[in-house]
């Protein structure tokens, strides 16, 4: 394979120029753009990481800020100016307690299975709750658990991180304290007596098909 001529013909542009190129790319996108995607669009030889550091600093204290979402980057308005944005605000349906708790359990325990969620909450998880979270693209399917039945697991998405302004799952509020205190451990019930939820839940699943319980 022959190389593109410009790969070798030209040096990478100066860092300031790289910075404004990234600025343009990120400004133009509503979704976070991954570092790789940025690099793909810049001339060869650019140092995306370095330019991003400069750019982030440049926007500190401004009306918009450069945020990291997983391995991607995006401009977002400064949260303290939210009050100006009445026009842009979109009314989201208020999530039910069941949906919020399920989301939190997935975020903090991911990858986690449905029966683990049910064990933590002590009630069955209605199919509609999971469906809603999938629809919002806040959760997605992870790898199957290598246990009998190979149950699917759920994990949170970049959309979730973006929505809650999180750089990564490690930035979930209080996650370190929870882990240190052992509350995120998967601790099975001794003798499995209380762990009877799975059985109960099967009938619950069948009855519980309406989504009403998700919204307050």
């Amino acid at each position: 394979m022959t190389k593109e001529p410009n790969e070798t013909l030209f040096d990478a542009p100066p860092i300031g120029e790289q910075e404004r190129m990234i600025e343009a790319i990120l400004f133009a996108s509503a979704e976070p753009v991954s570092k790789t995607a940025i690099a793909d669009r810049l001339p060869h030889g650019c140092d995306v990481s370095e330019a991003l550091v400069h750019l982030r600093k440049r926007y500190e204290g401004r009306g918009v800020k450069l945020v990291k979402v997983g391995d991607a980057w995006a401009f977002r308005t400064a949260p303290d100016l939210g009050f100006l944005m009445q026009k842009e605000r979109f009314e989201t349906r208020k999530l039910s307690r069941a949906a919020i708790e399920t989301l939190a359990i997935i975020a903090y325990h991911q990858p986690t299975t449905r029966s683990e969620i049910e064990e933590i909450r002590g009630v069955s998880v209605s199919r509609g709750t999971i469906d809603l979270l999938l629809e919002l693209e806040w959760i997605k399917l992870g790898r199957r658990r290598m246990t009998p039945g190979r149950p699917v697991t759920f994990i949170v998405t970049q959309v979730f991180l973006d929505h809650f302004g999180l750089e990564s799952e490690r930035d979930l509020p209080g996650v370190k304290e929870l882990r240190d205190s052992g509350l995120l451990d998967n601790r099975p019930a001794p003798g499995g007596l209380l762990d009877d939820t799975s059985q109960e839940n099967e009938d619950d699943d069948l009855e519980n098909t309406d989504q009403d319980d998700m919204f307050e």
Binding site: T2, F27, A28, S29, A30, E31, R41, A74, F75, R76, T77, A78, P79, G82, M85, E88, R89, F90, T92, L95, R97, A98, I100, E101, L103, A104, I105, A107, Y108, E119, I120, R121, G122, V123, D162, H163, F164, G165, L166, L172, P173, G174, V175, L178, S181, L183, R187, A189, P190, G191, L193, L194, D196, E200
Partner: protein, 266 residues
Amino acid sequence: MSEPTPQEIAEFEQTTQERIASEALLVDVDGFEGPLDILLTLARTQKVDLRKISVLELAEQYLKFVEEAKKLRIELAADYLVMAAWLAFLKSRLLLPPDPSDEGPSAEELAAHLAFQLERLEAMRRSAAKLMARDQMGRDFFVRGIPEAVSQNRKVTYTATILDLMQAYAYIKTKDSFEPLHMRERERLVTLEQALERMRTLIGHAVEWGDLNQFLPDGWRDDPKFLRSATASTFAAALELVKEGKLEIRQSETFAPIQIKSKSSE
């Protein structure tokens, strides 16, 4: 009629409060998310750290709650009753001295796990609340309002090497001298006519049943391609001769050797 004593009033008020409290819990039972949720609510009334909770007291509170529900003829879902049965069992185990012959987890282990579950549920509730209290997209911060689409341009480059070029030219220049499919190659086929002619001269000798392939022309058995041609023609010729009444043909089973015999020999 005597006036109630202050003590009586106080007692009455206390029981009223308790009754209101317990009824409030019951009337609201629909709002609870299962027995664990009820237990967590009851546990909070102990006003201690969940790690220091008295599971025995909690079990009693829960059983009392179920009793009250029965009295008020409130039908509790099956899982509430399952929990009640389990807590009754746990309570008796906690009260009795441990039986050394008992297998499985001790009452203390079971109680500790219940406490862990309550603590974990509460922690998740708190985390969920913290999560929802964060700045949220579309509420507190906003995305770019006029995103610009990235247009896709497809650029095709073509490659060819000097070798491609030369080979192509070489091919053109030599194409004319290529020999088309040769009739000489066709000559290496046995036609039906040839086979028939050959068979006519041979069948006179076939007084006994003999395999058909004995009648193939010499020198045709080595090359499979020519063997196929000769076999087909010879077989067709044999059928033709059978039709003429000069030959008999037989085969014991599928794929068995085909045998022929001269008919005139009888």
